[in-house]
Structure formats: structure tokens, C-alpha cells
């Protein structure tokens, strides 16, 4: 009996799609061959039942696929063996007692098809075959569970490994002064991507092992500055972040229009932003003031008609240096 392959494009409602969990998604992504176990014990149809008896006893198994060459032609189980023993027919070929035409699953099928088969047939294991019907392995429910768990762990580990690697970045590099420089070009008026650079910087710092509070302070300061470039500049500007184990130095600069009164600009509540910007939730005149509260030093230079340069520095204590193997945990971002 050939396993029927149900149509993989199931009709799912939008709501149902929204509720698909990562493990269900994986059941569609993973293929049977990725989770199956290679068949450890197989028998050839020309072998005799005595050999099956010996194999079952020494290997402590209760069933094995029967092959003709490499092609799967049946399965022999302990029940078949008992029938043979009752008949005292141990010299008979396996083909006499085996169960022919077993249900199989193709190695390239998605795992979800196997799950459907397990549910609909209540069979506990399926031989896995290739396009020609050659045996490739065995699939049990346990294989599927293990495979899904492994895949979920892999998903999770990718970030963990990245974080681990980056968090030791500076350890093996010898120089008088090692630093990592990140640069981002910010486009004037590009509100849709506003914050993308800050987001990347915050993530980079967390991967480098920065303490969550440091990453948060840096993120907020750079985000305000990034929004300033988007809102106020003529041609956009640049964010340059230099990361060293003991300090993060940030420069945000542009080529205009510049700030006419720097002292006034840093005053909380002073704003030159138009109404449209205020509707976006910005332009309340808190930006530079916010930045100053997040950083250890701030220096703002601006020439009206020329441009603005904002220099920020965040200092890291010995136990919170970045890139030197200090670990953080993403979840613990308490103040």
C-alpha cells in the first residue's frame, strides 16, 4: 500500500496562519530525512527465519525491514516470527512470513506529512524510502519530537553563538588600542527607517556582551540623535560609533543647516520642529536633553549654515567592558 500524500497546500484561514507556532512552522520546513534514524538492522528476503530469530535475540529488536537488494519489500516482526516458530519452520525464507507492502514515507516529505500518517494510521514507525523505493531509514514519533526540539534549539543557538563569539571579540587581538567602528548613513526625511541604525547598534552592543543598561542608554541616546538627523538635516548625516572595551564613543554629524543657538537647543522643551514632526511623537524639545542624561559626556558643536557635530561618550566600568567575555543576559535588563 502506497502512503497517500495529502495536498500540502492546506486551506488555512488568515487567523489560523497567525496562530501557527514556530514548532508547527518547523514541521513544514523540516524534511523526513533530517529527523529519521538510519535503519540499523535490515534483513534480505532470501535469508531464512532462523537468521531473523538470531538477529532479534542478539540485537534485542522486535522488527526489521525486509529488502530485496536495496529495495524495501516488506517488514518482519516478532509476531511473524512467532507464527513461524509455531509451525517449526525456521528454515523457510523470510518472504514466506514477512508482511509485504508496508506503508512508507518518502525521505523528501515534510515532517508534517509524517505526523498526519502517525495520527491517521496509529502506526508507531514507518520505513523511509527514496524515489525508487530503496530503504533510507526509519521514522518513529520519537524521531520527530527529537528532530523538532533540535531544530528549535538550533534557532535559539544561532543568536547565542553570535553573542558568544562577539562577546570575546577583543580578547585575542593584541594592539595598543583596539576598537570596533560602526558607521551608519542616515537619510534626511526617512521616517520609515528611523531608528534602524540605533536598533542595529543596540543589538551589536548586546552581542558584544554589553550590560543591558549600557545598551539601553546607548540605544536611547543614538535613537534621539538619529531622529534629529532625519527631522532636521538638509542632506542627512552620519552616525559613527567606536566601541572599545572601556568606552563607547559616538559621533553624529551632518552638513547642515546647523543650529543657530546651541545653548537654547539643549534646553528641555525648546523645539524648532514643525507640527508634522510632533504628530509623529517627536519634536517636543526633549531630544538633546534626553541624550545628555543617557551619556557620560556630551559635546555639541554647530555652525549655522555649516553643520552640526555631536560627540557622546559612555564609560564602562571594569566589570562591564564589552568584547572581553563579560556575559550579559538578554532577559535581565533591569535598571
Amino acid at each position: 500500500m502506497e502512503p497517500k500524500t495529502p495536498n500540502p497546500s492546506l486551506n488555512l484561514s488568515d487567523e489560523a496562519i497567525g496562530n501557527i507556532s514556530r514548532s508547527e512552522e518547523l514541521a513544514y520546513e523540516l524534511r523526513v530525512e533530517e529527523v529519521m534514524t538510519p535503519a540499523a538492522h535490515v534483513v534480505q528476503s532470501t535469508m531464512i527465519m532462523q537468521q531473523v530469530l538470531d538477529l532479534f535475540r542478539t540485537a534485542r529488536i522486535s522488527g526489521a525491514p525486509v529488502l530485496d537488494g536495496k529495495k524495501l519489500i516488506g517488514i518482519i516482526s516478532i509476531e511473524d516470527l512467532i507464527r513461524c516458530l509455531i509451525e517449526q519452520d525456521c528454515q523457510a525464507p523470510i518472504s514466506k512470513y514477512m508482511t509485504p507492502s508496508v506503508m512508507t514515507i518518502k525521505r523528501t516529505d515534510p515532517v508534517v506529512e509524517a505526523l498526519k500518517l502517525f495520527v491517521s494510521t496509529k502506526v508507531g514507525r514507518f520505513p523511509v524510502v527514496d524515489e525508487e523505493g530503496n530503504l533510507e531509514g526509519i521514522l518513529t514519533k520519537g524521531d520527530v519530537t527529537r528532530g523538532l526540539l533540535k531544530a528549535l534549539q538550533r534557532d535559539y543557538q544561532v543568536e547565542e553563538i553570535r553573542r558568544y563569539r562577539a562577546s570575546h571579540l577583543f580578547e585575542d587581538i593584541v594592539s595598543d588600542r583596539t576598537s570596533l567602528i560602526l558607521r551608519y548613513n542616515i537619510v534626511a526625511g526617512d521616517f520609515t527607517h528611523g531608528g534602524a541604525a540605533s536598533s542595529a547598534i543596540k543589538r551589536a552592543l548586546l552581542r558584544l556582551g554589553a550590560n543591558p543598561q549600557i545598551a539601553r542608554r546607548t540605544g536611547i541616546a543614538v535613537y534621539e540623535a538619529e531622529m534629529n538627523l532625519i527631522i532636521h538635516t538638509t542632506n542627512g548625516g552620519v552616525i559613527r560609533v567606536e566601541i572599545e572595551p572601556h568606552q563607547i564613543s559616538i559621533e553624529i554629524y551632518d552638513d547642515g543647516p546647523g543650529i543657530s543657538d546651541v545653548d537654547l537647543a539643549v534646553k528641555p522643551g525648546y523645539s524648532t520642529a514643525p507640527e508634522a514632526i510632533r504628530e509623529l511623537g517627536f519634536g517636543a524639545g526633549m531630544g538633546l536633553y534626553n541624550i545628555s542624561r543617557c551619556v557620560d559626556t556630551m559635546k555639541l558643536e554647530s555652525v549655522y549654515g555649516k553643520g552640526t557635530r555631536l560627540r557622546l561618550r559612555i564609560l564602562l566600568k571594569d566589570n562591564e567592558t564589552v568584547g572581553e567575555g563579560h556575559s550579559n543576559s538578554k532577559g535581565d535588563s533591569r535598571p
Partner: protein
């Protein structure tokens, strides 16, 4: 209290169902000015806001906000939902107004996680 509890209390609809609803929520903050949020909010808060653009999600991400609740039945633009999905921050919409929601959550035991934006002791 976690994100799922907040959704129940505010009769909310989760707009990005892939978000982790087990995340802890330690308090709340209500504001429409993102600079105010950045200046005042403490980590792991629920952010109640009437603003619907992607900057809300960016702000939430920078400030370690646990979830965003859009008030007065607002439905955000698709970019906002997409960003919330990729940043894995729960985005919720509820028919209730800001005042009602603050009251409900405060009554349920959530403290305020907003501090004064102009704190003389920090100057």
C-alpha cells in the same frame, strides 16, 4: 503579571501573534510623545499610547518596553506591525481609552514606571 495577563485586563487583541506573551511586565507608562517615553520610562513596562507609527516600536525597543498597547481602538499601519514582528515586541490594540486603561492596569496591581522627565537631582 505577564503580557498575556495584560491582554486579558485590557480586552486587547494581539496584532503580532508570534510575540512572546510570557514576558514579564513590571509596570506601566502612558504617553504619546516618544521623547517623553524615552526620557521617563523604566525597563519592562507596558507602554500605552495613541501613536501608531513604526517609531513606537523603535522607541519600545530602545527603552526595553515589554509590550505596546494602542489605545482607543487604533489599528496601526502595516509597517508598524511588521516591525513589531521582527523585533518580537507584543503589539496590542484595545477599544478602551488611555484613562480607562491606566485605571484598569493600576487597579490590577501595576505600578507606574514613569519618572519625571526633568529631574533636578540628575542634572
Amino acid at each position: 503579571m505577564n503580557v498575556a495577563d495584560v491582554i486579558k485586563i485590557v480586552d486587547g487583541t494581539l496584532l503580532n501573534p508570534t510575540a512572546n506573551t510570557n514576558r514579564m511586565v513590571r509596570g506601566g507608562c502612558g504617553a504619546d510623545l516618544m521623547s517623553d517615553v524615552l526620557a521617563s520610562i523604566q525597563p519592562e513596562a507596558v507602554l500605552l499610547t495613541g501613536l501608531c507609527n513604526p517609531q513606537v516600536v523603535r522607541t519600545a525597543q530602545m527603552a526595553d518596553v515589554a509590550l505596546i498597547v494602542l489605545v482607543r481602538g487604533k489599528i496601526p499601519q502595516p509597517e508598524t506591525i511588521r516591525l513589531a514582528e521582527s523585533e518580537e515586541i507584543a503589539l496590542i490594540t484595545t477599544p478602551y481609552g488611555m484613562f480607562e486603561l491606566c485605571g484598569r492596569l493600576y487597579q490590577a496591581g501595576l505600578p507606574s514606571l514613569e519618572r519625571s522627565v526633568v529631574d533636578p537631582s540628575e542634572d
